[in-house]
């Protein structure tokens, strides 16, 4: 069963005969957060509950892509969301992929069982929300303009 996004899937009431579903994005199709989900019985890192009450866990065949866990590139206000995405990604897999893009974070803490972080992303330390404007002049490489 296919959905445009995980958001759309979470809002759907899904037949009990369906055991897996596929999404084309996290927030919207094509945003890079596409994933395969399998029916499960409880909440899991990166999983969700659909409108019918069923639980779905993300089914990984490779590294956990942080975009499939809700990370948002290029937005200085999304540091907390990005950190949750990293945490959930490491909760789902010992191997995590941060793809190309600028991700603002405060501090990422891989668990003791983490084995690999493929960091193709540019991570930028972002300050608390009140001070975030200082970062608005940063370029994608992370170097001050």
């Amino acid at each position: 069963m296919d959905f445009n996004s995980r958001v759309e899937a979470a809002a759907a009431s899904i037949s009990g005969a369906v055991n897996y579903l596929r999404t084309a994005g996290y927030y919207a199709y094509g945003d890079g957060g596409d994933a395969l989900y399998a029916r499960t019985t409880a909440t899991t890192p990166g999983g969700f509950q659909s409108a019918d009450g069923a639980w779905w866990r993300i089914a990984l065949s490779g590294p956990a892509n942080i975009l499939a866990f809700g990370a948002v590139p290029g937005d200085t206000t999304k540091a907390a969301i990005n950190q949750t995405a990293f945490t959930d990604a490491f909760g789902a897999s010992a191997s995590v992929l941060a793809p190309v893009g600028t991700f603002h974070v405060q501090s990422i803490a891989p668990p003791s069982t983490a084995r690999r972080l493929q960091l193709d992303a540019d991570l930028v330390r972002v300050e608390p929300i009140a001070d975030r404007w200082a970062l608005s002049r940063f370029n994608p490489t992370g170097l001050a303009l």
């Binding site: 803490a109 003791s112 084995r115 960091l119 330390r125 200082a134």
Partner: protein, 417 residues
């Protein structure tokens, strides 16, 4: 806290890719590092671009962490800082640039690091030290690195059982600083390095260095400036005519040597730049008539300086330019230096000496291109010296022919027949 904070990872987390980690403001985040590893084993950081912050990478109580092939572009205090107990760390093939004026180290391991490998890195523009191992490093390797334009020591180590080899160290001050006033430096090999333009000894041993080998290095001090005249500048100061001034007003200390006929010129001075070929010596008093000779050296050092009780060290096969001696001992006459061997070093005449002062039993053999062997009167009985080109010096032994031996016996130097 690190932008990436790795704690208690025992499975060997690998962080690698084409990405970067940046800290916007070291002032806003004074305690934030780009990456921090605590109590973690077998982790690797590879291929990243890392910038900003007071610290780029911090290690605390780690085992076998590798930091390799990264590009460090800026840091405020230290690029890589290790404290606690760190074993078998590897810092390899990184490019480290962009130290700030407040930076003190590019790579610094404290707390008795064991088995540290620092290999193939390029450090440029470190504001103070490039590579530092302290607190009693053991079994380390610092090999094949390039360090240039650091303001202080390129390599600083307190420890034992190491190899410092194949490094190219350019435009630094004291290049290799080993041991300290309170620590020993032992059983370390310093070989096949290239040092250029140090303004102090290329290799400086602190107190208590023993059983080290300094061999096969090329050490180049700033070239001497030839003096061709010394006159009264009209105000009573000595004005030197030099091949090329290359100095600025206020530069000090400037060492003037061997000026004939105007002995007051010889010594350490602060200079005043007059023009491209003339310098005045501040505070000097002109007297006499210039008869020829003289040179300016930016420094007046040996290529290897050994402080304190230096024993059983071997300094051999080095090639030096523009230094005053192959080795210099600072242990004073009551020092306990013993059986240091200094041989087969290649100096450059006419002023390089195989040894500056020796306060102990030393063996000096086969210096090449050095016609002056200053024989210290406080050397211990049993010391011997052999100078290929003959012996000339301030000792009782002077003017020997090529291949002359001298030996210290009964508190006097005895020339060979």
């Amino acid at each position: 806290m690190g932008v990436i904070e790795v704690q208690s990872n025992g499975v060997g987390l690998v962080i690698e890719g084409l990405g970067s980690i940046a800290i916007a403001s070291a002032t806003t985040y004074p305690t934030t590092a780009n990456l921090r590893f605590g109590s973690s084993n077998f982790c690797t950081v590879r291929g990243l671009t890392i910038s900003g912050g007071n610290y780029n990478i911090v290690l605390f109580n780690t085992n076998a962490v590798s930091i390799e092939n990264n590009n460090f572009t800026s840091y405020t205090v230290r690029c890589i800082d290790a404290s606690g107990f760190n074993f078998f760390s590897k810092v390899r093939f990184n490019f480290i640039a962009g130290g700030a004026d407040t930076s003190d180290h590019a790579v610094c391991f404290n707390g008795s690091p064991i088995g540290t490998t620092i290999e193939g890195n390029t450090v440029t523009g470190a504001k103070v030290w490039s590579f530092t191992l302290q607190g009693g490093a053991q079994n380390f390797k610092i090999i094949n690195n390039v360090s240039q334009f650091s303001r202080r020591e390129a390599i600083t180590v307190i420890g034992t059982g190491g190899t410092i080899s194949g490094n190219i160290l350019n435009f630094d001050n004291t290049h290799v600083d080993l041991g300290s006033s309170f620590a020993t430096m032992t059983n370390t090999i310093i070989s096949n390095n290239i040092f250029t333009l140090p303004s102090s000894p290329a290799i400086l041993f602190g107190s208590g260095c023993s059983s080290n080998i300094v061999s096969g290095n090329t050490m180049v001090a700033p070239p001497r400036r030839v003096i061709t005249g010394a006159v009264n500048n009209g105000s009573g100061l000595i004005r030197l005519t030099v091949s090329t001034a290359g100095l600025q007003t206020g530069d000090a200390p400037i060492f003037v040597n061997n000026v004939g006929g105007v002995p007051n010129a010889n010594g350490s001075w602060t200079v005043t730049f007059i023009d491209a070929t003339h310098l005045d010596l501040q505070g000097s008093t002109f007297a006499g008539l210039y008869t020829g000779g003289g040179y300016i050296g930016d420094q007046n050092w040996a290529s290897v300086a050994l402080y304190g009780d230096a024993s059983n060290n071997t300094i051999s096969g080095n090639t030096t330019f523009n230094f005053n001696a192959s080795a210099e001992f600072y242990a004073k006459e009551f020092g306990t230096n013993a059986t240091n061997r200094i041989f087969n070093n290649v100096g450059d005449p006419p002023n390089d000496r195989p040894v500056f002062t020796v306060s102990a039993t030393s063996m000096i053999e086969d210096p090449i291109g050095t016609t002056v062997a200053k024989l210290p009167t406080n050397a211990r009985n049993g010391s011997r010296i052999f100078v290929t080109d003959g012996l000339v010096g301030s000792s009782p032994v002077t003017g020997g022919s090529a291949g002359t031996w001298a030996m210290r016996l009964n508190n006097a130097w005895r020339a060979s027949p």
